[in-house]
């Protein structure tokens, strides 16, 4: 039997008690949840924060003068302070609450892109991007007559930084790349990317969807201009997240959406806008989920990102060894630096079939192109099977995945 406590001090057995959803049978077997890159499960502290809010102090924030409104406002703004600290931002007003990374990217594309990008300019993304960090930039390019350039990727899933240097020039206005790839797990050299982009005067947006729960993020040290995060991929609720932006950039940007909260004064002749961060938070926000997000960040900080990363690295290494030893399986994405994502294809078996067969054994993985069709085209595959690990996963679960895969491959081979 493989012990479930790693050298890092993460006590997985007791930690799992904090995640009610993990304790159930799926198709007659213990659920094994390996779809964490799509969304992670939520600890009881996060779930309780949601019900506490609705049970105890549901109220609209900021303008209310009554006690409940003040309590809700304080809790909401406490999350902003926690987020500031979580990514080491310089000012709380540099944190804009969004629905998640997708909205964060759209906000920057729409507001910054449409204001500061002009005809003939260039926007650079990478071949590893999720559709949500491609399509909003295509909107900008189409609207402004700019062009989209792409940093190429190697067969192993590593970005070609020399090629990136070639792409950079004075027409480059924005560089948008992910911190870690959702399909392959590759951790990108964003520090270097940011430095190089700044040399030509471009601003840099980092899609932190796959990084925030796994890697330490210090936006000031990185010197990135924008950093987008989704709460639900870091043990928090769905439908919320935040965008970090450097204060002077956010101040120079026009509002993204119009409505309540984002205004200072409205007349039919002219409207003036509120200060940061409210300028970018039109309408009643997702109060409950924002409040609960603080508990997700606290959960991560209680365990320590270093401990989480060490535990997940341990799982990734174990899974990489065991899965790649199965005959007929080829790993996709073998970059030296990876978050806990294991993507693979199996000779002669479609990823959908693998996913469905693993589900029959209670194992949840993701199959398909993972919203990175250009990457799949580049790698010459239709899709992969992706197992992604979180802090509550165990080596025993990986053993069950391997057993399931061996059975599936065996069945298909004899057929």
């Amino acid at each position: 039997m493989v012990p479930n406590a790693t050298q890092t001090g993460i006590q997985v057995d007791s930690l799992r008690q904090e995640f009610p959803v993990l304790h159930q049978k799926v198709n007659g077997r213990d659920l094994i949840y390996f779809d964490n890159a799509a969304t992670s499960q939520k600890p009881t502290s996060v779930i309780k924060a949601l019900t506490d809010y609705y049970d105890g102090y549901n109220a609209n924030i900021h303008r209310g003068i009554h006690t409940l409104a003040e309590k809700a406002t304080r809790a909401y703004e406490d999350t902003r302070l926690a987020a500031q600290q979580f990514i080491h931002a310089g000012h709380p007003e540099e944190i804009i609450f969004t629905r998640g990374v997708t909205e964060g990217v759209n906000l920057v594309a729409s507001s910054y892109g449409k204001t500061f990008v002009t005809a003939g300019d260039e926007i650079i993304v990478s071949a590893l991007e999720h559709h949500s960090n491609i399509v909003p930039w295509q909107f900008v390019c189409e609207a402004k007559g700019a062009s989209l350039r792409v940093i190429p990727v190697s067969d192993e899933g590593v970005l070609d930084i020399d090629a990136f240097k070639e792409l950079l020039n004075t027409k480059t206005k924005i560089v948008a790349v992910n911190h870690a790839s959702n399909s392959l797990g590759t951790i990108n050299p964003i520090r270097e990317i940011i430095r190089l982009a700044h040399e030509v005067g471009a601003v840099v947006l980092i899609d932190g969807a796959q990084a925030a729960a796994h890697l330490d993020v210090d936006v000031q040290e990185l010197d990135c201009d924008f950093y987008a995060v989704s709460a639900h991929k870091m043990y928090g609720p769905t439908g919320t997240g935040f965008l970090y932006g450097k204060k002077h950039l956010l101040e120079a940007m026009p509002p993204y959406q119009g409505g309540g909260e984002m205004i200072r004064e409205v007349t039919f002749a002219k409207t003036t806008y509120n200060d940061l961060p409210y300028k970018f938070e039109a309408g009643t926000p997702n109060i409950a989920d924002v409040i609960a997000l603080r508990y997700a960040m606290e959960f991560i900080q209680r365990l320590g990102k270093e401990n989480i990363a060490a535990h997940e690295h341990d799982l990734l290494q174990y899974a990489t060894e065991r899965v790649s030893a199965i005959k007929g399986i080829r790993l996709v994405g073998t970059a030296p630096e990876k978050v806990s994502v294991l993507s693979f294809v199996v000779d002669g078996i479609h990823p959908f079939d693998i996913g469905q067969m693993l589900d029959a054994r209670g194992i949840a993985v993701r199959t398909g192109h993972h919203c990175t069709q250009p990457l799949m085209d580049r790698l010459g595959i239709e899709g992969t099977v992706r197992a992604s690990f979180a802090v509550y996963n165990t080596k025993k679960e990986i053993d069950a995945l391997v057993e399931g895969l061996e059975r599936v491959v065996g069945f298909m081979k004899q057929a």
Binding site: G28, F352, M412
Partner: protein
């Protein structure tokens, strides 16, 4: 054998698996492997069923006044599912295909584990088969 008689036969076969999901999935894939080979010349974009997450090719023809389907898929489970439809509808009158109501999926517990997207794909397959049946019906009427 009527459409409903074939459905009942399928329900009986699956009952032997006793609700074991893994066995059910394996059995579906085995059924798919028994489908006659699909002619390469008909593996065209035109014959792809729209609305399926995996690729499904489907063609239809008449033998006398009965309909005959040929199908294939790039995924083993979908191929198994479409093979069940081929088994149910082949040799039936176009009118019977058009008026049929398929209930076997629910009865063999498949809806439980076939994801929404693939369920939609299944619905697309059935719809395409009924469209073919309508075309065959029209063809028969014009020939008369």
């Amino acid at each position: 054998m009527s459409i409903n008689a074939v459905q009942e036969e399928i329900i009986e076969e699956f009952a032997l698996l006793d609700g074991d999901m893994e066995m059910t999935v394996f059995y579906i894939m085995e059924l798919g492997q028994k489908l006659p080979p699909f002619p390469e010349s008909e593996r065209t974009d035109e014959n792809i069923v729209k609305g399926c997450q995996s690729k499904v090719w489907l063609t239809a023809s008449l033998e006398g006044n009965k309909i005959q389907f040929k199908a294939d898929s790039n995924t083993a489970i979908t191929k198994g599912l479409v093979s069940l439809l081929v088994r149910i509808f082949n040799g039936q009158l176009p009118d019977d295909v058009l008026n049929s109501e398929l209930y076997f999926m629910r009865r063999i517990g498949m809806e439980r584990f076939i994801g929404t997207q693939r369920s939609n794909g299944f619905a697309s397959m059935v719809k395409q088969m009924k469209i073919y049946a309508l075309a065959m019906k029209t063809k028969l009427e014009v020939n008369l």
